[in-house]
Protein backbone atom coordinates (compact mmCIF):
# COMPACT_ATOMS: atom_id res chain seq x y z
CA UNK A 1 0.00 0.00 0.00
CA UNK A 2 1.20 3.53 -0.89
CA UNK A 3 3.70 1.99 -3.32
CA UNK A 4 5.13 5.31 -4.54
CA UNK A 5 7.05 5.76 -7.76
CA UNK A 6 10.29 4.17 -6.64
CA UNK A 7 8.68 1.15 -5.02
CA UNK A 8 11.17 0.38 -2.27
CA UNK A 9 9.25 -2.66 -1.03
CA UNK A 10 9.18 -4.06 -4.55
CA UNK A 11 12.93 -3.56 -4.74
CA UNK A 12 13.26 -5.49 -1.48
CA UNK A 13 11.23 -8.34 -2.98
CA UNK A 14 13.38 -8.32 -6.10
CA UNK A 15 16.52 -8.41 -3.95
CA UNK A 16 15.23 -11.35 -1.89
CA UNK A 17 14.17 -13.10 -5.06
CA UNK A 18 17.61 -12.75 -6.61
CA UNK A 19 19.73 -13.25 -3.51
CA UNK A 20 17.75 -15.94 -1.72
CA UNK A 21 15.65 -17.49 -4.46
CA UNK A 22 12.39 -16.54 -2.72
CA UNK A 23 9.35 -16.21 -4.95
CA UNK A 24 7.14 -13.14 -4.70
CA UNK A 25 4.00 -12.00 -6.39
CA UNK A 26 3.32 -8.33 -5.69
CA UNK A 27 0.20 -6.20 -5.90
CA UNK A 28 0.99 -2.52 -5.41
CA UNK A 29 -1.53 0.24 -4.65
CA UNK A 30 -0.89 3.90 -5.36
CA UNK A 31 -3.19 6.91 -5.71
CA UNK A 32 -0.85 9.24 -7.61
CA UNK A 33 -1.01 8.64 -11.34
CA UNK A 34 2.51 9.82 -12.09
CA UNK A 35 3.95 7.78 -9.25
CA UNK A 36 2.03 4.68 -10.37
CA UNK A 37 3.28 5.18 -13.92
CA UNK A 38 6.86 5.58 -12.69
CA UNK A 39 6.49 2.37 -10.65
CA UNK A 40 5.03 0.55 -13.63
CA UNK A 41 7.95 1.55 -15.83
CA UNK A 42 10.63 1.03 -13.20
CA UNK A 43 9.48 -2.48 -12.30
CA UNK A 44 8.01 -3.46 -15.66
CA UNK A 45 4.58 -4.32 -14.27
CA UNK A 46 1.14 -3.60 -15.76
CA UNK A 47 -0.89 -0.74 -14.36
CA UNK A 48 -4.63 -1.12 -13.72
CA UNK A 49 -7.20 1.62 -13.15
CA UNK A 50 -8.59 1.00 -9.68
CA UNK A 51 -10.56 4.21 -9.38
CA UNK A 52 -13.58 2.07 -10.21
CA UNK A 53 -14.22 -1.52 -9.13
CA UNK A 54 -11.42 -3.84 -10.30
CA UNK A 55 -12.38 -7.28 -11.58
CA UNK A 56 -10.82 -9.78 -9.13
CA UNK A 57 -10.29 -12.24 -12.02
CA UNK A 58 -7.32 -10.07 -13.06
CA UNK A 59 -5.47 -11.39 -10.02
CA UNK A 60 -4.92 -14.77 -11.67
CA UNK A 61 -3.62 -13.26 -14.91
CA UNK A 62 -0.58 -11.39 -13.63
CA UNK A 63 2.35 -12.15 -11.39
CA UNK A 64 2.91 -8.49 -10.49
CA UNK A 65 0.58 -5.55 -10.79
CA UNK A 66 0.13 -1.95 -9.73
CA UNK A 67 -3.38 -0.60 -9.15
CA UNK A 68 -4.06 3.13 -9.39
CA UNK A 69 -6.49 3.55 -6.53
CA UNK A 70 -7.41 5.30 -3.32
CA UNK A 71 -6.64 3.18 -0.24
CA UNK A 72 -9.49 4.92 1.59
CA UNK A 73 -11.96 3.55 -0.96
CA UNK A 74 -13.01 -0.05 -1.51
CA UNK A 75 -12.74 -0.55 -5.29
CA UNK A 76 -9.51 -2.53 -4.86
CA UNK A 77 -10.60 -4.77 -1.99
CA UNK A 78 -11.88 -7.66 -4.06
CA UNK A 79 -8.80 -7.99 -6.25
CA UNK A 80 -6.61 -7.71 -3.16
CA UNK A 81 -8.64 -10.46 -1.50
CA UNK A 82 -8.35 -12.62 -4.62
CA UNK A 83 -4.58 -12.04 -4.49
CA UNK A 84 -4.56 -13.56 -0.98
CA UNK A 85 -1.57 -11.59 0.30
CA UNK A 86 0.69 -13.24 2.85
CA UNK A 87 2.26 -9.91 3.73
CA UNK A 88 0.81 -6.42 3.51
CA UNK A 89 3.32 -3.58 3.59
CA UNK A 90 2.22 -0.10 4.61
CA UNK A 91 4.23 3.00 3.85
CA UNK A 92 1.56 5.56 4.65
CA UNK A 93 2.12 9.25 3.78
CA UNK A 94 4.69 10.71 6.16
CA UNK A 95 3.92 14.51 6.30
CA UNK A 96 1.41 14.14 9.19
CA UNK A 97 4.05 12.35 11.25
CA UNK A 98 7.15 14.27 10.29
CA UNK A 99 8.71 16.95 12.44
CA UNK A 100 9.40 18.76 9.20
CA UNK A 101 5.61 19.07 8.71
CA UNK A 102 2.87 20.13 11.10
CA UNK A 103 2.85 16.72 12.84
CA UNK A 104 -0.96 16.69 12.70
CA UNK A 105 -1.02 12.89 13.04
CA UNK A 106 -4.51 11.42 13.06
CA UNK A 107 -6.07 14.89 13.09
CA UNK A 108 -5.53 15.06 9.33
CA UNK A 109 -7.20 12.96 6.62
CA UNK A 110 -3.76 12.01 5.34
CA UNK A 111 -2.72 10.88 8.81
CA UNK A 112 -5.81 8.69 9.15
CA UNK A 113 -4.81 6.72 6.06
CA UNK A 114 -2.55 4.54 8.19
CA UNK A 115 -5.62 3.53 10.23
CA UNK A 116 -7.57 2.81 7.04
CA UNK A 117 -4.73 0.66 5.75
CA UNK A 118 -4.52 -1.34 8.97
CA UNK A 119 -8.30 -1.64 9.09
CA UNK A 120 -8.38 -3.30 5.68
CA UNK A 121 -5.92 -5.89 7.00
CA UNK A 122 -8.73 -6.95 9.30
CA UNK A 123 -10.61 -7.89 6.13
CA UNK A 124 -7.72 -9.34 4.15
CA UNK A 125 -6.13 -11.26 7.03
CA UNK A 126 -2.52 -11.37 5.77
CA UNK A 127 -0.10 -13.38 7.90
CA UNK A 128 2.06 -10.34 8.54
CA UNK A 129 2.07 -6.57 8.20
CA UNK A 130 5.27 -4.63 7.57
CA UNK A 131 5.26 -0.90 8.30
CA UNK A 132 7.60 1.93 7.43
CA UNK A 133 7.32 5.50 8.63
CA UNK A 134 9.44 8.54 9.50
CA UNK A 135 11.40 8.21 12.73
CA UNK A 136 9.30 10.85 14.52
CA UNK A 137 6.29 8.55 14.20
CA UNK A 138 7.46 6.45 17.16
CA UNK A 139 7.42 9.46 19.47
CA UNK A 140 4.22 11.03 18.13
CA UNK A 141 1.37 11.36 20.64
CA UNK A 142 -0.91 9.38 18.29
CA UNK A 143 1.51 6.46 17.95
CA UNK A 144 -0.29 4.55 20.69
CA UNK A 145 -3.57 4.74 18.76
CA UNK A 146 -1.96 3.19 15.71
CA UNK A 147 -0.53 0.40 17.86
CA UNK A 148 -3.94 -0.25 19.38
CA UNK A 149 -5.49 -0.29 15.94
CA UNK A 150 -3.05 -3.05 14.99
CA UNK A 151 -4.19 -5.09 17.96
CA UNK A 152 -7.82 -4.32 17.16
CA UNK A 153 -7.21 -5.76 13.69
CA UNK A 154 -5.74 -8.93 15.24
CA UNK A 155 -2.01 -8.22 14.94
CA UNK A 156 0.83 -7.81 17.39
CA UNK A 157 4.08 -5.99 16.74
CA UNK A 158 6.98 -8.43 16.99
CA UNK A 159 9.75 -6.02 16.21
CA UNK A 160 10.13 -2.30 15.66
CA UNK A 161 13.22 -0.24 15.29
CA UNK A 162 14.40 3.16 14.13
CA UNK A 163 17.09 2.63 11.56
CA UNK A 164 19.47 5.16 10.14
CA UNK A 165 19.98 4.70 6.42
CA UNK A 166 23.39 6.35 6.61
CA UNK A 167 24.64 3.06 8.05
CA UNK A 168 24.48 1.61 4.58
CA UNK A 169 23.69 4.45 2.21
CA UNK A 170 25.26 7.85 1.53
CA UNK A 171 22.18 9.68 2.87
CA UNK A 172 20.89 10.68 6.30
CA UNK A 173 17.40 9.18 6.44
CA UNK A 174 16.11 7.79 9.72
CA UNK A 175 13.08 5.54 9.41
CA UNK A 176 10.85 3.57 11.78
CA UNK A 177 10.43 -0.03 10.59
CA UNK A 178 8.25 -2.69 12.16
CA UNK A 179 6.52 -5.92 11.47
CA UNK A 180 3.41 -7.36 13.07
CA UNK A 181 2.12 -10.93 12.96
CA UNK A 182 -1.46 -12.13 12.87
CA UNK A 183 -2.28 -13.50 16.29
CA UNK A 184 -4.68 -16.20 15.16
CA UNK A 185 -2.35 -17.71 12.54
CA UNK A 186 -0.87 -20.83 14.12
CA UNK A 187 1.58 -21.22 11.24
CA UNK A 188 3.28 -17.94 12.11
CA UNK A 189 6.60 -18.50 13.85
CA UNK A 190 8.25 -15.27 15.01
CA UNK A 191 11.90 -15.08 14.14
CA UNK A 192 14.61 -12.81 15.47
CA UNK A 193 14.82 -9.66 13.42
CA UNK A 194 18.07 -9.22 11.56
CA UNK A 195 18.95 -5.75 10.47
CA UNK A 196 21.44 -5.22 7.68
CA UNK A 197 25.07 -4.84 8.63
CA UNK A 198 26.57 -1.34 8.50
CA UNK A 199 28.98 -0.78 5.65
CA UNK A 200 31.95 1.55 5.61
CA UNK A 201 32.85 4.44 3.37
CA UNK A 202 29.54 4.85 1.60
CA UNK A 203 29.65 7.65 -0.95
CA UNK A 204 27.31 8.38 -3.87
CA UNK A 205 29.65 6.69 -6.31
CA UNK A 206 29.52 3.48 -4.27
CA UNK A 207 25.98 3.09 -5.55
CA UNK A 208 26.60 4.62 -8.95
CA UNK A 209 24.25 7.41 -7.92
CA UNK A 210 26.10 10.27 -9.61
CA UNK A 211 24.64 11.57 -12.84
CA UNK A 212 27.06 11.43 -15.74
CA UNK A 213 28.16 14.81 -17.01
CA UNK A 214 26.20 14.67 -20.25
CA UNK A 215 22.95 14.44 -18.25
CA UNK A 216 23.64 17.57 -16.25
CA UNK A 217 22.44 19.88 -18.99
CA UNK A 218 18.78 19.14 -18.27
CA UNK A 219 17.02 22.46 -17.52
CA UNK A 220 14.89 20.83 -14.85
CA UNK A 221 17.99 20.32 -12.72
CA UNK A 222 18.49 24.07 -12.31
CA UNK A 223 16.36 26.60 -10.40
CA UNK A 224 14.01 28.53 -12.65
CA UNK A 225 14.71 32.19 -13.34
CA UNK A 226 11.95 33.56 -11.13
CA UNK A 227 13.53 31.86 -8.12
CA UNK A 228 16.98 33.33 -8.74
Amino acid sequence: MFAGGVGGWKDACTYLQNAHDLKFSTLALEIDRDAALAYSIAHNVPIVNGMKHVDPAIASEFRDLIVLTDIAGDTWLEICSAWQPDIVVISAPCPPWSQAGNASGLHSDQGQLILRAIATCKLLRPRAIALEQVSAFASHEHYKYVMQTLRWAGYVIHHSQIIEASDILPIARARWLAYALRVQDATNHPMPFQMWKPEKSQVPNTWNAMLPEHMLSDDKLFPSQHVL
Binding site: D74, L77, E78, S81, A82, Q84, G105, L106, H107, Q112, L115, R116, A119, T120, K122, L123, L124, R125, H142, Y145, Q148, T149, R151, W152, A153, G154, V183, Q184, D185
Partner: protein, 121 residues
Protein backbone atom coordinates in the same frame (compact mmCIF):
# COMPACT_ATOMS: atom_id res chain seq x y z
CA UNK B 1 -8.43 12.87 18.44
CA UNK B 2 -10.26 9.90 19.83
CA UNK B 3 -13.33 10.78 17.77
CA UNK B 4 -11.52 10.28 14.47
CA UNK B 5 -9.97 7.10 15.81
CA UNK B 6 -13.32 5.82 17.02
CA UNK B 7 -14.95 6.60 13.67
CA UNK B 8 -12.38 4.56 11.75
CA UNK B 9 -12.63 1.61 14.13
CA UNK B 10 -16.42 1.63 14.12
CA UNK B 11 -16.60 1.84 10.34
CA UNK B 12 -14.75 -1.48 10.24
CA UNK B 13 -16.48 -3.18 13.13
CA UNK B 14 -17.45 -6.77 12.41
CA UNK B 15 -20.99 -7.87 13.03
CA UNK B 16 -21.14 -10.28 15.98
CA UNK B 17 -17.79 -9.34 17.52
CA UNK B 18 -17.94 -8.75 21.27
CA UNK B 19 -19.17 -5.20 21.86
CA UNK B 20 -19.44 -4.31 18.19
CA UNK B 21 -21.26 -1.13 17.24
CA UNK B 22 -24.36 -1.40 15.08
CA UNK B 23 -23.81 -0.51 11.45
CA UNK B 24 -26.57 -0.30 8.87
CA UNK B 25 -24.08 -1.74 6.39
CA UNK B 26 -21.87 -3.95 8.47
CA UNK B 27 -19.25 -6.65 7.97
CA UNK B 28 -20.29 -10.25 8.36
CA UNK B 29 -18.08 -13.36 8.57
CA UNK B 30 -19.92 -16.44 7.34
CA UNK B 31 -19.40 -19.85 5.75
CA UNK B 32 -21.23 -23.13 5.03
CA UNK B 33 -23.76 -21.55 2.71
CA UNK B 34 -26.69 -23.72 1.79
CA UNK B 35 -29.40 -22.71 -0.66
CA UNK B 36 -32.81 -23.17 0.94
CA UNK B 37 -34.95 -21.65 -1.77
CA UNK B 38 -35.05 -18.76 -4.20
CA UNK B 39 -31.99 -16.67 -3.48
CA UNK B 40 -32.17 -17.30 0.25
CA UNK B 41 -29.26 -19.09 1.85
CA UNK B 42 -28.75 -20.48 5.28
CA UNK B 43 -25.23 -19.93 6.53
CA UNK B 44 -23.10 -20.02 9.63
CA UNK B 45 -22.11 -16.59 10.96
CA UNK B 46 -19.01 -16.32 13.13
CA UNK B 47 -18.02 -14.10 15.96
CA UNK B 48 -14.85 -12.99 14.18
CA UNK B 49 -11.24 -12.75 15.26
CA UNK B 50 -9.72 -9.45 16.29
CA UNK B 51 -11.21 -7.02 18.75
CA UNK B 52 -14.34 -4.90 18.50
CA UNK B 53 -14.12 -1.11 18.44
CA UNK B 54 -15.67 -0.66 21.88
CA UNK B 55 -13.17 -3.10 23.45
CA UNK B 56 -10.25 -1.41 21.68
CA UNK B 57 -11.44 2.02 22.79
CA UNK B 58 -11.56 0.77 26.38
CA UNK B 59 -8.11 -0.83 26.21
CA UNK B 60 -9.65 -4.28 26.61
CA UNK B 61 -7.38 -5.92 24.08
CA UNK B 62 -8.26 -9.57 24.47
CA UNK B 63 -7.79 -11.74 21.38
CA UNK B 64 -10.03 -14.50 20.21
CA UNK B 65 -10.28 -16.58 17.08
CA UNK B 66 -13.38 -17.01 14.91
CA UNK B 67 -15.81 -18.59 17.35
CA UNK B 68 -19.40 -18.90 18.55
CA UNK B 69 -21.06 -19.90 15.27
CA UNK B 70 -24.73 -19.19 14.78
CA UNK B 71 -27.19 -20.00 12.00
CA UNK B 72 -28.40 -17.09 9.90
CA UNK B 73 -30.47 -16.61 6.77
CA UNK B 74 -29.46 -14.19 4.07
CA UNK B 75 -30.47 -13.17 0.59
CA UNK B 76 -27.63 -13.49 -1.88
CA UNK B 77 -27.48 -11.33 -4.98
CA UNK B 78 -28.28 -13.68 -7.88
CA UNK B 79 -25.87 -11.82 -10.19
CA UNK B 80 -22.89 -12.81 -8.04
CA UNK B 81 -21.27 -16.24 -8.27
CA UNK B 82 -22.84 -18.67 -5.82
CA UNK B 83 -21.00 -18.88 -2.50
CA UNK B 84 -18.78 -21.94 -2.24
CA UNK B 85 -19.74 -24.19 0.67
CA UNK B 86 -16.18 -24.75 1.92
CA UNK B 87 -15.05 -21.13 1.83
CA UNK B 88 -15.35 -18.62 4.61
CA UNK B 89 -16.51 -15.23 3.42
CA UNK B 90 -16.16 -11.76 4.81
CA UNK B 91 -19.13 -9.87 3.50
CA UNK B 92 -18.35 -6.18 3.40
CA UNK B 93 -21.13 -3.66 3.75
CA UNK B 94 -23.80 -6.33 4.05
CA UNK B 95 -27.26 -4.95 4.77
CA UNK B 96 -28.01 -5.77 8.40
CA UNK B 97 -31.58 -4.43 8.28
CA UNK B 98 -33.15 -6.25 5.36
CA UNK B 99 -36.58 -5.27 4.11
CA UNK B 100 -37.48 -8.96 4.03
CA UNK B 101 -38.45 -9.98 7.60
CA UNK B 102 -37.68 -13.67 7.01
CA UNK B 103 -33.95 -13.11 6.55
CA UNK B 104 -31.24 -11.64 8.77
CA UNK B 105 -29.01 -10.09 6.11
CA UNK B 106 -28.98 -9.09 2.47
CA UNK B 107 -26.07 -9.19 0.06
CA UNK B 108 -27.45 -7.18 -2.82
CA UNK B 109 -24.73 -5.26 -4.54
CA UNK B 110 -26.91 -3.91 -7.30
CA UNK B 111 -28.73 -1.77 -4.75
CA UNK B 112 -25.95 -1.30 -2.18
CA UNK B 113 -22.22 -0.91 -2.44
CA UNK B 114 -21.63 -4.43 -1.23
CA UNK B 115 -18.50 -6.47 -1.68
CA UNK B 116 -18.30 -10.17 -0.99
CA UNK B 117 -14.75 -11.04 -0.16
CA UNK B 118 -13.75 -14.65 -0.48
CA UNK B 119 -11.70 -15.70 2.46
CA UNK B 120 -9.20 -17.61 2.50
CA UNK B 121 -7.47 -19.05 5.53
Amino acid sequence: MSEQWRDVLQSMDFWNSDGCSFQRNGILVADSFELIGGSIYEAVAWSPEGISSSCALRDFLKFQGDCKPQQIKLIWDASRPEPLPDVKYILYQVDTMPANPTVDFEVLDHTHTCLAIAQIR
